[in-house]
Amino acid sequence: MTLPTAPAPGLQRAGARLPVDEYTRRLWQRRWFVAAYSSASNAVGYEGNILGQAWQVLTPLLNIGVYYLIFGLLLHTNRGVPNFIAFLSVGVFVFAFCTSSLITGSRAITGNLGLVRALQFPRAVLPVSTTLVAFLRLLYSLVVLIPIVLISGEPLTWRWLELAPAIALQALFCLGLAFVVARLGARVPDMAEILPFVSRMWMYTSGVMYSVQIFTQGHAGWVSSVMTLNPAYVYLTLARHALLVGSPATAGNWLIAIAWAVGTLVMSYLYFWRGEEEYGNV
């Protein structure tokens, strides 16, 4: 496509995509809107329920109950895991951040079409906002997670501080994920039907309710390498390493975590930015 030239100096093409540095600067200028819109949509999301925002914590809590019943008591996937309740809780809460970033990210454009068709702003605001909502929910869930971990017998150590960089890296990765699925979801509406299966598949392969180390002992070496490269597994491992005694994490895990976070975010931000002009026509 050849770029047409302006008919007169000073005229710009309406809706033209900005260069990536200028685009990022505009995105940064909208940070207050991102914060306000995220916290408002987070609060409004539970408006119709009697228990309101308590569901932010109740939903993962009920999930832990269900998984404990099925995987811990019935299927005994807890073998080899010393403190299964704490192991499972960290897994469920931390993985929930990945899932909700993925699902809500895919609706970032399609769910806010009214906004996209009425106001001019960098569209990256929307996936950033959905990821921020998911991140806020993770922070809320720590209010429940930390007592569970302590009551189940884990000591409070300095290593808990490692949770902050682990979650921060996961947040960057999830933001990248949201950028990708936001553009895909804008192009293919059927993503909303496909992604729940993707996320379920991802959960069962990430060691949320079983130990990947113990599971892969009886399998070929490549199974273990593939499973331990999985970003969700890596972020779960780092979070468990921070909170639970006897959950080792290596420098390699940290390197993989950084690589996934930075790589995904940079690539997917550029991917999302390249689609900037098409989001109003969805």
Binding site: Q12, G15, F33, Q120
Partner: protein, 282 residues
């Protein structure tokens, strides 16, 4: 009423070529816009859908609507242009293309400065209070927290909803909601102002006030576009009018002339009722 036509922006009559050509603010060059429609009239349910996928047939529900078909014009500084036409004639879609919110499928829109659609309703949330929505709406149109703090009181005063500003917006009457939305949207004067039926709601007193505000915005803005079915408003506040039908411009020229021609075609039966009936030139 007709005196208003000759207000400051109307003095430089763009129809008669002045010695120095007025500055172009919007140039629309052979613009076509299509909406992709998914869903709608799919028939036959799941079996039919699978058959279509297997046979590589295009789903009958997947259509595109050609809303604007080859529109070209130039707008100049100081003009207020009314867009009239029956429902579905492409007026709002054309406005979105000028605002850069929808990319034309063919042709280019050029603008000098940022064109903004007057409308924030998409960013506002019914469950939140009026004051929260003022902040949210102002952030959505790109104001900073400092600017909002400065403008907050005048927005409240302009909306004139009194104590209701502390209540959730879904408790408002439709008129009150419209007043608040207009007050927020009009807090900022863009280079090119696009108004889509914003004046259609509110009581008579508010309508007068909002018309005054629009005039102020227009004096500050380079060019104003107004989509309205209220032909009186087009006559009063526009210097030029465009009649769109089926996505094409039927007539473009002086507001009164175009509105007269439009009324001649559509409002023949209702015409004798209006006091303006005597002015109509045939």
């Amino acid at each position: 009423m007709s005196e208003i036509v000759c207000d400051p922006s109307g003095t430089a009559e763009p129809a008669s070529p002045a010695p120095e050509t007025p500055e172009q603010t919007v140039v629309v060059d052979d613009v076509h816009l299509t909406y992709r429609i998914i869903g709608g009239s799919r028939r036959g349910g799941a079996p039919a859908a699978f058959r279509r996928i297997l046979l590589h047939e295009k789903a009958p529900g997947q259509r595109s609507v050609h809303a604007v078909r080859g529109v070209s014009f130039a707008a100049y500084r100081g003009e207020a242009i009314g867009l009239i036409g029956p429902n579905g004639s492409g007026k709002s879609t054309l406005l979105r293309a000028v605002a850069g919110l929808m990319a034309p499928s063919q042709g280019v829109v050029w603008t000098r400065g940022q064109a903004s659609l007057l409308g924030v309703s998409a960013a506002m949330m019914g469950a939140m209070s009026g004051e929260q929505n003022i902040v949210l709406g102002c952030l959505a149109i790109g104001m900073t927290p400092a600017e909002i703090a400065e403008e907050y009181d005048s927005i409240c005063e302009f909306a004139g909803i009194g104590e209701f500003v502390h209540l959730p917006m879904n408790t408002y009457s439709s008129g009150m909601g419209a007043r608040l939305r207009f007050a927020i949207a009009a807090a900022r004067a863009p280079d090119i102002l696009l108004i889509d039926e914003a004046l259609a709601t509110g009581d008579a007193q508010f309508r007068r006030r909002s018309e005054k505000r629009i005039r102020e915005l227009r004096e500050r803005a380079g060019t104003v576009f107004l989509v309205s079915h209220g032909l009186g408003i087009i006559r009063e506040s526009c210097t030029r009018a465009m009649w769109l039908e089926g996505g094409k411009i039927i007539l473009d020229g002086d507001a009164n002339t175009v509105v007269d021609a439009y009324e001649h075609k559509y409002d023949r039966d209702r015409r004798p009722v209006t006091p303006r009936a005597g002015n109509i030139r045939s």
